[in-house]
Structures are given as structure tokens and as C-alpha cells.
């Protein structure tokens, strides 16, 4: 069997069992919908505070800033759907020693750990984020060309890969620090910065959010593409960042595993 069909089949199995093992659908779904609505309303409200006495935030008008918020909402949905459940599972696997079983399987362990679970309750949020981006872009007077739409999609995919890689880098540290639930919280809370356009930050913070943690590439850059604004960073750079982070996550995981396999008991 080739790589793709085999991994496709594995994914299918992973996700069907993940769906089957979820209980209390209605409860989860209502909580998630409420959280989504509350979060969006709250972010909208806080964003609007910046426009009470002014016309722009870091050179972005109200509708344009909403496109950034849309991109943030979409990526947060990706995190809810795929990243968060799997990260939590890694920590549990390391803690109770079941990681051994994963390592003994003839399949890439990073693939297994990153895709094992899926939480479909995050899917509406992805749709909502995309909807907000398109709606706000139209309100801002942008009429995105097919090319702009395509590059926005590519950039959002690259952003998802970057986000995933950051998240996996953090998760991999659970090999050393068995309890790292809070690492998710750090990531989540720093990424909150992505709710606002990168130019809304003072220059020091801006370079931190571009060079150290590529928050700029997660939300601002896709929003710029959709609005056809003079981009702060070109598309190839965003792809490069995503590829670099992904490679880093793989190398780091391999290093962590070497440590695990030479030290665990």
C-alpha cells in the first residue's frame, strides 16, 4: 500500500473511533456554540472600544480589523477541532505510559499523535470565521479576485500548519515535563494577540510577534491578502515560515523521542 491510501485509511479509522467515543453530544455542542458566540461577541465588543473615539487601529479601519478577527476565529476553530484534543491526549499518553504502544506501531508517531482525535464541535467556528472574513471584507469595500481568494486560502492553510507546529513543539516537551497542560494555555493566550492587526502593536512587540512567535503570519497576513492591502509580508515568506516551523517540529520530536527511548523506565 502506498503512503497516501494507507494513511488515509488510518485517518478514517482514527476519526470514526474518535467520533464514536464522544459522549454527551448535545451538551458538548451547546457548550461549544455558546462559548463560540460569547467569545465572538466579547471580542467584537472589545474591538469596538478602540473605535469609540477613533477611526482606525494601527491603520486598519473597523471593517478591516473585523477581517483579522475573522481569521482569528477561524484558526481558533482549527485548534478546537484538531489541535487541542490531540495535545491533551499526548500529555495523558506520556503520563500513564501508553506512549509505548504508539511507539511500537509501524506508523509515524507524530502522525499518530497529531491526528488521532478530532472534535467536530470546532467546525462551526471555522465556518463562522470564514464567513466573518468574507462579510467584513465586502463591507470594507474589497471585492476579492479569485486570485486573492486563492492566496488567502493558501495563507490560512499555511497559518494552520504554523499553528500546528508551534503547538506540537510545545506538546513534545511533555516528554521531559510530564504535566504540561498549561503549555496549551500559554500558546492560547499568546495567540490571543492575533485578534488585532499586527500594526496595532508597538514596534518592539510587533517584531516579537513576527520573528519569535509568528502571530503576524497567522491572522494579519491572510487578512491583508483578502483585502488586497499593501502586504507587510509576501506569500512565499509565509509559506517558508510554515515549512520551517513544521520541519522544526519534526526534528524536535525526533530529539525528544531519542531522549524518551534512552531514559524512560
Amino acid at each position: 500500500m502506498g503512503w497516501l491510501p494507507r494513511h488515509g485509511r488510518v485517518l478514517l479509522r482514527f476519526w470514526s473511533t474518535a467520533l464514536a467515543s464522544q459522549t454527551e453530544y448535545l451538551f458538548n455542542f451547546s457548550v461549544e456554540l455558546l462559548a463560540m458566540a460569547g467569545n465572538l461577541a466579547g471580542s467584537w465588543f472589545v474591538l469596538s472600544l478602540f473605535f469609540r473615539h477613533g477611526q482606525q487601529l494601527g491603520g486598519w479601519r473597523w471593517e478591516e480589523a473585523l477581517v483579522v478577527l475573522g481569521a482569528y476565529t477561524l484558526l481558533d476553530g482549527v485548534a478546537t477541532t484538531l489541535l487541542r484534543p490531540n495535545l491533551n491526549a499526548i500529555v495523558t499518553l506520556v503520563q500513564n505510559g501508553s506512549l509505548d504502544f504508539v511507539l511500537l506501531k509501524p506508523i509515524d508517531s507524530q502522525f499518530w499523535l497529531s491526528t488521532r482525535l478530532i472534535a467536530p464541535v470546532g467546525l462551526p467556528q471555522i465556518a463562522l470565521g470564514a464567513g466573518l472574513m468574507l462579510w467584513a471584507a465586502a463591507r470594507a469595500g474589497a471585492a476579492p479576485s479569485p486570485l486573492a481568494l486563492a492566496s488567502t486560502t493558501v495563507l490560512l492553510l499555511a497559518a494552520s500548519v504554523s499553528l500546528y507546529s508551534l503547538w506540537f513543539l510545545v506538546a513534545a516537551t511533555s516528554i521531559w515535563f510530564t504535566k504540561i497542560w498549561n503549555a496549551t494555555e500559554v500558546l492560547r493566550n499568546v495567540l490571543v494577540a492575533g485578534r488585532y492587526p499586527i500594526s496595532a502593536y508597538p514596534s518592539g512587540v510587533r517584531s516579537l510577534l513576527t520573528l519569535v512567535l509568528p502571530v503576524a503570519f497567522l491572522t494579519t497576513v491572510p487578512a491583508e491578502a483578502l483585502l488586497a492591502r499593501a502586504g507587510s509580508h509576501p506569500l512565499p515568506l509565509a509559506l517558508l515560515v510554515a515549512a520551517g516551523l513544521f520541519t522544526a517540529s519534526r526534528l524536535f520530536w525526533r530529539h525528544a523521542l531519542r531522549f524518551y527511548t534512552s531514559a524512560s523506565s
Binding site: S21, G97, F101, T261, S264
Partner: protein
């Protein structure tokens, strides 16, 4: 039962060679309590702990070997090195023709590890769902995996337990389902770490029976650790005994018994009580309780001593036995001695 899926393997396919295997850990000591924690924070004291030292043995394909030793002797560490989860510090290992720690796909397809105290089945779902995931991961096709599950489920007498959520299964059923999940891909080498841990006597016996059948039918190599001597005596003609990280015995179970127990136990029922020093010439008196006497007699003097006892005393009943192996090994480990 259809057995064409379980054709015996090519000779040598599942063999294990271990040469000079060793593992040293570096650990940080921590004293209990708050003070200990603080001191630990400020100044870590690192210490090398030798878990396994210069272990060599080789196992032919199809053998069933028991792996004995007290807690902390290095059994689990050795099993993890053999299955590629831990890198050895010294020595070389070949399992089914592979170097385990390279963890090549073909190696992982050829082995399995069952850990009695850990589980891989998804807790909230029936075992069948976990089995389907495993089938996909090991690249078994649908029809093949269904046939295989059917076969193993029949051997394990699992029946409808496969369609009930794992959390609702009894411990015995859960362990059998774990075995099924571990054997789905037809491994040639089975590493079993305490597969009967916590099971009741009946469930233990069934798991044992299954392992014996499985080994006979497939010719798979089995290396088994257990706290229950019954598992070892029932399954393993050959045992490895590890103590303090070192291999102290490699051979038949009977040899081990005679090495550990050069004496036999003799129990006497006398018509009338006799003074202890009347019996001491015949052997070491273990216990004397009125008319009941228990003594140990070296094997080579057994016949002579028994004849003497019968001639000198009014014996109602006499029984000769081997001391139970648990006691022998337990005694050995308590003394910290070597056979």
C-alpha cells in the same frame, strides 16, 4: 478452526540474540518532604543506576521462555530494550533479524509487547473499534483482519465482549482483548510483561492455555515475565532468572529447582511425640509441632534417611515433596544471594 492464517513461520524468523546487554540510568535523588524538595531544587544529586548489566542469551524461534526476577531486577527494562523502546547503553540485540532500537517498520510488524499494567484499548469504545484502528495501522486488509479477529476471539473465548465498551468488561476479558489487539498483526515475537497481573485463578488459567495454544499453532517466540509462578511452570520449559540486573540462571525449570533446592521436604506424622534431638541426625528440622515434624533432607541422602526414620519411629504418615518454587526464589531474593 481454520489455521491457514497461522502457518508456522520460517525457521529462525523469530529468534532473539542478546550479547553483553546493559543499561545505566542517571537519576536524581530526592529526599521526602518539603526540605527534600527544596534541596533537590537547589542541588541535584545525580547518580548512575545500573538497571541491567552484561546480559547475554539467545532464544530460538518458537521457544517459550520465562523471564523471572524480583521487582526492580531489570526485567521490564530488558523487555523494553528488546522491543526497541529503550536504547541499550552497552551490548547488542537482534530480534527477528533486526536491531530493535532502529524501530524499522518491518521490525515493528514482527513483534508485539503486552503490558499487564498498561492498556492500549480505547476505554469508552468496544474493543472492536480499537482493533479496526490497529488493523489500519498495521496495514491489514478488511477481510483478512475480520478473519483474524474471528479466529483469535474464538481461541480467547471473547464472544460478545468485543462489542461491549472496554470500561464495562471484566479484568479478565479486558486482558484477553488486549492480547487480541496485540496479536492482530501476526507478530513472530511476543514480549509479555505480566500478562496475568491481577487476574483471578480461572482467568489466569485461560490466558495461559491460550498462550500455549498460540505458541503451538503459530510457532511464535514468546518471552514472558510473571509474578505468578504458575504461568512459568505451565508455559515455559526454559527460564531466565535475572537478579540485580544480572542473568543468574539460563536453563530448564527443573534445573533451577534443583540448583535452588538441593534438599527435599519431608513431613512426618508420628504416633507419639519424640524429642527434637532424636530426629536431628536425619536432617534439618524445619518445624516440630507435637507429633508433626517437617524436616529438610539433602537429595542424595533421601532414601537412606527415610528408611532410617521409618525404622526408628512409629510413623503414621510420611510425605516427600519439593519445596514450592515461589518459596525458593523468594528465599533467594530475600537473602540477596546467588544460586
Amino acid at each position: 478452526m481454520g489455521t491457514n492464517g497461522d502457518a508456522p513461520m520460517a525457521a529462525g524468523a523469530g529468534s532473539i540474540q542478546v550479547q553483553g546487554l546493559g543499561k545505566t540510568y542517571r537519576v536524581a535523588d530526592k529526599l521526602p518532604g518539603l526540605g527534600g524538595t527544596m534541596r533537590h531544587l537547589l542541588r541535584r544529586r545525580l547518580r548512575d543506576v545500573v538497571a541491567v548489566r552484561d546480559v547475554s542469551f539467545s532464544i530460538e524461534a518458537g521457544e517459550m521462555v520465562g523471564f523471572l526476577g524480583p521487582n526492580g531486577a531489570g526485567k521490564t527494562t530488558t523487555l523494553k530494550m528488546l522491543s526497541g523502546l529503550i536504547h541499550p547503553s552497552t551490548g547488542t540485540v537482534r530480534v527477528a533479524g533486526h536491531v530493535p532500537q532502529r524501530r524499522q517498520r518491518s521490525f515493528l510488524q514482527a513483534i508485539t509487547l503486552v503490558m499487564g499494567q498498561k492498556q492500549q484499548l480505547i476505554w469508552d469504545l468496544p474493543p472492536l473499534d480499537s482493533l479496526r484502528v490497529n488493523a489500519a495501522v498495521y496495514g491489514l486488509d478488511e477481510a483478512d483482519s475480520r478473519r483474524r479477529i474471528g479466529e483469535l476471539a474464538e481461541m480467547l473465548e471473547l464472544g460478545e465482549a468485543l462489542t461491549r465498551p472496554v470500561r464495562k468488561l471484566s479484568l479478565g476479558q479486558r486482558m484477553k482483548a488486549e492480547l487480541l489487539a496485540a496479536l492482530l498483526h501476526r507478530p513472530e515475537v511476543l514480549f509479555l510483561d505480566e500478562p496475568t497481573l491481577g487476574l483471578d485463578v480461572n482467568a489466569q488459567a485461560r490466558v495461559r492455555q491460550f498462550l500455549a495454544d498460540y505458541n503451538r499453532r503459530t510457532g511464535a517466540t514468546v518471552l514472558l515475565t510473571s509474578h505468578y509462578m504458575g504461568d512459568i511452570t505451565a508455559l515455559c520449559p526454559r527460564v531466565l532468572l535475572i537478579h540485580g540486573g544480572q542473568l543468574v540462571h539460563d536453563g530448564g525449570l527443573a534445573d533451577l529447582t534443583s540448583r535452588l533446592a538441593p534438599c527435599r521436604a519431608v513431613r512426618l506424622d508420628l504416633r507419639e511425640p519424640v524429642p527434637a534431638d532424636a530426629i536431628t541426625p536425619f536432617g534439618t528440622v524445619e518445624q516440630m509441632d507435637g507429633r508433626e515434624v517437617r524436616l529438610l533432607i539433602p537429595r542424595e541422602r533421601l532414601t537412606e534417611a527415610v528408611a532410617g526414620l521409618l525404622a526408628h519411629f512409629d510413623v503414621l504418615d510420611l510425605e516427600v515433596s519439593d519445596p514450592p518454587i515461589e518459596e525458593l526464589i523468594g528465599g533467594l531474593f530475600r537473602q540477596g544471594g546467588r544460586p
